[in-house]
């Protein structure tokens, strides 16, 4: 594999990892606060639709992004009402949200655009374009660093940089601020937070809301940055992969980065059977190639990752009086 191929692979890795990373961090906030969320997929999908739809209607992608985040927040609020206020089953609520998003996006898309559940293609300002970082063009021809900087680091959309910046930010928020301390505590032992006189409900809603915002950005990234419009079911299971990455990452921000990058790399490799063939020296069956990322995940999980201990209060509603 030559250097440029490697750069291309990593470039693809970054793009594929970005929505996973955002969704994974979203899940991290929610689950660290004790609210399990298998509705990442649905929130992402709803955000993908609403951001593309509103961007297409207004011609402004930033308004689209806001709409996407808003839609995701609305579903997050629903999850909050079900699992925090009414102490419902968090898994059921998540499943329902996934179905709701899958159905509603197409229903509304059909109602608004009559294009079979798609939005019109986004053009110009209705889309996030890649950003060329300063000096990228200038050093593009410098060996080694040139391609690295110009191809791999530069040229992504603003949302990618936001996603990567979200990692240290999440870490800082969780481990260096009062809010983070309380948020982690409420996922481990909500009674400790309650007896300290802090609202368990308030904290959990805050966490769920952050989750909504991040899922919203992830969805908007899919439809307005990676793509130029919404196609039904376009989240294509990424919410579940993000969830897997979250467990893989043992609910930690930096690990989440590595886990999603790994999944991104698997996805990128899948698009380059020639590289895999060159590496292992034989032709890989198409179907095996498709299954490879999943097989690799299982192997890594079984071989190298120890037991992942979820937040202790995760999944259980906080009930103090019956």
């Amino acid at each position: 594999m030559d250097y440029l191929t490697l750069i291309q692979l990593l470039d693809s890795t970054v793009r594929l990892a970005t929505p996973l990373l955002l969704a994974c961090l979203a899940g991290l906030f929610s689950e660290r606060a004790g609210i399990f969320d298998i509705g990442l997929e649905g929130k992402m999908l709803a955000a993908a639709f609403f951001s593309a739809a509103v961007a297409s209607l207004t011609g402004n992608v930033w308004i689209g992004l806001l709409a996407g985040v808003g839609a995701s927040l609305a579903l997050a609020a629903l999850h909050g009402i079900a699992s925090i206020t009414f102490r419902g089953n968090q898994l059921i609520s998540g499943v329902a949200i996934n179905f709701l998003a899958a159905g509603m996006t197409v229903l509304i898309a059909q109602d608004w655009f009559r294009q079979g559940g798609r939005t019109p293609s986004l053009v110009g300002g209705a889309r996030f374009e890649g950003i060329t970082l300063p000096g990228a063009d200038a050093i593009a021809d410098v060996p080694l660093i040139g391609p690295l900087y110009a191809e791999l680091i530069s040229g992504h959309s603003i949302l990618v940089y936001m996603a990567f910046a979200a990692v240290p930010l999440t870490w800082w928020l969780l481990y260096r601020t009062r809010f983070g301390l309380r948020l982690r505590a409420v996922g481990e032992n909500p009674a400790s937070v309650d007896t300290a006189g802090i609202s368990v409900v308030g904290l959990r809603y805050a966490a769920v809301a952050i989750c909504g915002v991040l899922c919203g950005i992830a969805g908007a990234y899919l439809s307005t940055a990676l793509q130029a419009g919404f196609v039904k079911d376009m989240s294509a299971g990424r919410g579940f992969i993000a969830l897997a990455a979250l467990i893989f990452a043992k609910w930690r921000p930096w690990y989440a980065l590595w886990a999603t990058l790994l999944f991104g790399l698997f996805g990128a490799l899948e698009t380059r059977p020639d590289v895999i063939e060159a590496m292992i020296g034989m032709k890989v069956q198409g179907q095996l190639l498709g299954a490879l990322p999943y097989i690799m995940t299982v192997v890594i999980l079984a071989g190298f990752v120890g037991k992942a201990i979820p937040p202790r209060a995760g999944g259980e509603p906080y009930v103090k009086e019956r």
Binding site: R176, T195, E321
Partner: protein, 530 residues
């Protein structure tokens, strides 16, 4: 009432106002009336005890005072002014601190993090942590409350955890400290230290409310004491004007025998013979470092020791759910310590019954009904099964009988275990383990958190079993209990047996030294076999 009158009142009544006055507190949990119209006054600078049977409503009342539960009716007055305790934040602001029966600590946080949680200064943690670290040093100096600020809660013992809870309250500058069954998990030494701290706090003018099942603690430390029964406050008396017997009677509603009556043991053959038993835990730490002991038929061998010195592992390995090495025989036949036959079911088949230390985590399935718990571990026994099925009818019948005999209240086999109070939960476990007619009974902490009426009953059962000729291995951190029940006492320290004593030839002081690893000769303990 206007602000002005409040302050006026405060000013005039300052010298005489009670630190806490509860007026007509009522609280129902669904259909259960946990507190009925309760009123109580506690004067500043005193230690006020509250006693009562399991489920009497003590914790509920205190949780209301601390703002954890909301009362249905009633008023709270602090230092002479009516205070709305809307939540714990309000209680903390009013100078109240509470150490709950079940600690409210975050297991994977450090001590320091737990202490500042909810009482941080500003949005960033760094300054808060630094400040807490400084005041922790002060508090440690002032009260002798030493803890490692950077240790994780899950890595420190319950005694330490309790210190953290107390430090939490003091860090928040509590003037009123509520302690709910603080000594249930402490060793005698730790308890003594706790009471010294309480005295110290009292001398500083702080007010303390102490809930406990131990009458001795009430008599030794409190100034006044209230008795609760079935959600009501039945009496409040000056401690100096009452006696343990009277308190016990007030609490249970009948006369209670405060001493264990027993005849001398007549030990028979060796039932359990342990030689060189070693256990290494998941983290690779050697928890048992070569244990030798014997238990004979018809005797109680009491294992004394500070919690965490290997007693739990001893019970676990004998009970069949930890692996060990060494030589253990039961009635002369070797026990499998690691292989296929080293599980709990094989142990039961061999005639070893086990009342575990933690009834809620191990002894019971809290969601299971009483009858299902009665079969727990014995569900493969012939009389509890029909083929592959469970013989539910037989188990239920058997359970009803056992509940009757052990006075489990309510005697309803279909009630889930979690709906029984601690004492009654313990009776369910005991009934199950004793009634299967074992050769050897392993018992850990038989009366932890159990009220006095139930303690009396449980002790009687243990003695009766001994008199039937069973071998009993008793583990307890309550020296009093060990002394009262044992025919021989072995003291464990750091995974080893420090020595054996006879109960009538020793006392708490000598045992206490052994528990600290100090032998007769005064020399530090030498590790055996290393």
């Amino acid at each position: 009432m206007s602000d002005q009158t409040t302050t006026e009142r405060q000013a005039t009544a300052a010298s005489t106002a009670p630190a806490i006055e509860l007026k007509g507190i009522s609280k129902a949990f669904g259909p259960v009336q946990a507190n009925k119209d309760i009123s109580i006054r506690v004067m500043p600078g005193t230690i006020h005890g509250i006693i009562g049977e399991n489920g009497a409503g003590k914790s509920t009342l205190m949780s209301i005072l601390y703002g954890f539960y909301k009362a249905d009716k009633g008023e709270v007055w602090i230092n002479g002014s009516k205070t709305a305790i809307t939540d714990s934040q309000a209680a903390i602001a009013a100078g109240i601190g509470m150490v709950f029966q079940h600690f409210k600590l975050v297991e994977n946080f450090t001590v320091l993090e737990n202490i500042i949680l909810g009482a941080e200064d500003g949005r960033l943690l760094k300054p808060s942590l630094a400040k807490a670290r400084r005041s922790l040093v002060e508090l440690a100096n002032d009260y002798g409350l030493n803890v490692d600020p950077d240790a994780l809660i899950q890595d420190i013992g319950v005694g330490m955890q309790q210190r953290v809870e107390i430090l939490k309250a003091l860090y928040r500058q509590a003037d009123i400290l509520i302690l709910d069954e603080p000594t249930g998990v402490l060793t005698p030494a730790e308890a003594d230290q706790l009471f010294r701290i309480l005295d110290r706090l009292k001398s500083e003018g702080k007010t303390i409310i102490l809930i406990t099942h131990k009458l001795r603690e009430i008599m030794e430390t409190t100034d006044t004491v209230s008795v609760m029964r079935r959600g009501e406050m039945t009496a409040t008396v000056k401690t100096s004007e009452t006696s343990p017997a009277e308190l016990a009677e007030l609490m249970v509603g009948r006369k209670v025998l405060l001493r264990v009556d027993k005849v001398p043991a007549t030990p028979g053959d060796v039932v359990l013979d342990v030689k060189g038993l070693r256990v290494i835990d998941d983290k690779g730490v050697e928890r048992l470092r070569g244990i030798d002991l014997q238990v004979r038929a018809g005797e109680v061998l009491g294992i004394a020791g500070v919690a965490g010195n290997g007693q739990s592992e001893l019970l676990e390995v004998l009970g069949g759910y930890a692996d060990g090495t060494g030589e253990v025989t039961l009635n002369g036949v070797a026990l499998d310590l690691t292989g296929r036959l080293s599980d709990g079911q094989s142990r039961r088949a061999r005639g070893i019954a086990h009342v575990p230390e933690d009834r809620q985590r191990e002894g019971l399935i809290m969601e299971y009904q009483a009858w299902e718990n009665t079969a727990f571990g014995y569900h493969h026994d012939a009389d509890y099964r029909t083929g592959l099925l469970m013989n539910n009818a037989a188990i239920r019948e058997d359970t009803a009988e056992k509940m009757e005999r052990f006075d489990v209240r309510p005697p309803n086999p279909k009630l889930a275990a979690k709906n029984f109070s601690g004492g009654n939960q313990q009776k369910i476990v005991l009934a199950r383990e004793i009634e299967r007619n074992p050769d050897l009974l392993l018992i850990g902490q038989p009366t932890r958190g159990v009220d006095i009426g139930a303690i009396e009953f449980i002790h009687q059962q243990i003695v009766a079993l001994r008199d039937q000729g069973k071998a009993i291995l008793l583990v307890s951190v309550e020296l009093e209990e060990i002394l009262a029940l044992s025919d021989r006492i072995a003291v464990m320290f750091d995974g080893q047996v420090m020595g054996e004593r006879l109960p009538d030839q020793t006392d708490e002081k000598e045992l206490g030294l052994l528990m600290a690893g100090i032998t007769d000769t005064g020399a530090a303990p030498v590790a055996k076999g290393t």
